[in-house]
């Protein structure tokens, strides 16, 4: 069920005179969390900005049909995840990259980021995350950075809690191993 604040915002959104004001409040409330979720997936700011804006445009169009049987932010995370995956997939096709090439591409993007320092643990962590398979990467980011409970993550990714726990377990192990041994 939608929390009280979101419920009020959604009610205002459905009333034409307050629509834009309510939507602006929704964006303001969730923009940073969603931005970082997207940014960790697509790496570059410009790409994250594009995906974020596209997803908020899609949400604007679909919000009237939001059934409120899940949390608003769960729904937003799901759209943000799908939009990011679509973006990565399109880029892969555009550049005719294989999955391995794409992972290398993301690693290179991390290395090209402003302030990158290969000796710093937080940057090593970012490189390690890019070496994970796509699904594990998303699960790790949602759990490690967003501290999302498995129950909610299960709604976002439409995967069982057990599978998500296993994914996170494997991902964390691989990352630790990567940092310690490379």
């Amino acid at each position: 069920m939608v929390n009280q604040d979101d419920k009020e915002l959604l009610m205002q959104f459905r009333e034409t005179p307050f629509k834009e004001k309510a939507y602006s409040a929704i964006i303001k409330k969730y923009q940073e969390r969603l931005y970082w979720h997207i940014r960790r997936m697509v790496i570059e700011h410009e790409d994250a900005n594009d995906v974020l804006q596209n997803m908020f445009v899609k949400v604007w169009k679909g919000l009237d049909n939001f059934r409120e049987d899940s949390q608003l932010y769960t729904w937003l995370y799901r759209i943000a995840t799908n939009e990011s995956l679509t973006f990565l997939d399109q880029r892969k096709r555009r550049m005719a990259l294989s999955i391995d090439d794409e992972d290398t591409g993301l690693t290179n993007q991390v290395k090209a980021s402003e302030g990158f320092d290969a000796n710093k643990l937080e940057w090593k962590l970012q490189i390690a995350i890019q070496h994970l398979p796509e699904k594990q990467r998303i699960v790790f980011n949602l759990r490690y950075y967003d501290e999302m409970p498995y129950e909610e993550m299960s709604r976002v990714l439409e995967t069982s809690e057990g599978a998500l726990k296993a994914s996170y377990h494997h991902a964390a192990k691989k990352i630790e191993d990567f940092i310690l041994n490379r």
């Binding site: 964006i27 940014r39 402003e114 962590l125």
Partner: protein, 222 residues
């Protein structure tokens, strides 16, 4: 009425209260009232909206400890790394992000217009294609074959009656097999010079003959 008055004034009627009170109620009443006053006049103050945000704060702590505890078991090293994102964001990006989104919506509208125009162009091409496919076919004139017709020779084989009645066929005109029409002497004739060579009396006689023929033909038809 008189009887009732008598009963109320009777010394025999005791002033007994029919309602009951809990045991020792009046002994404990003062203490209860003071406790209530004390509970309402607390000397301590809680921060504004403290209790409104408390459940979320507690849940947040539980969540954090869960993730941290989980990592302690799986990969303890990750608990020692700062969760601060090393990526940078343009200055005041989040203040401007909201204002950028309507721009994007406008951009999308423009894209939509382009899509409509593109659709209209495609429909236009399809319509033109259908028109050309269904256009009534005009017989193609074979000018090369016409050039090869030996007009003079063919005219000799057709009678005046056939010419006047239009009862000749295309087959009556034979094509030149070896010579081109430009090779014929007629093709090189200068008409003005040739006409000067014909006398006026010859022309008048020709016209008269033909006119007569036509009139005769018209008479026979009627």
């Amino acid at each position: 009425m008189e009887n009732e008055h008598l009963i109320l004034n009777s010394s025999e009627l005791k002033k007994h209260n029919p309602y009951k009170v809990p045991v020792d109620y009046f002994d404990g009443l003062a203490m209860h009232v003071l406790l209530k006053i004390a509970s309402q006049k607390s000397v301590y103050q809680s921060p504004e909206n403290y209790f409104g945000t408390l459940p979320n704060q507690i849940l947040q702590k539980i969540k954090e400890s869960n993730v941290a505890n989980e990592l302690d078991v799986i990969a303890p090293l990750l608990n020692k790394i700062s969760k601060q994102s090393p990526y940078t964001v343009p200055e005041s990006y989040f203040n401007n992000a909201q204002t950028q989104i309507p721009t994007k919506v406008v951009k999308l509208s423009a894209q939509k217009i382009i899509k409509y125009i593109a659709a209209a162009v495609v429909i236009g091409f399809i319509a033109i294609g259908i028109f050309w496919l269904n256009k009534p076919k005009v017989a193609k004139i074979d000018y090369a074959a016409i050039n090869k017709i030996d007009v003079v020779k063919s005219m000799e084989t057709i009678s005046d009656d056939d010419l006047l009645n239009g009862t000749y066929t295309d087959n009556d005109f034979t094509t030149i097999s070896t010579t081109d029409i430009t090779d014929l002497p007629l093709a090189n004739l200068n008409l003005e010079d040739e006409i000067k060579l014909i006398s006026d009396t010859d022309i008048a006689a020709y016209l008269n003959n033909n006119e007569l023929d036509i009139e005769e033909k018209e008479n026979t038809n009627s």
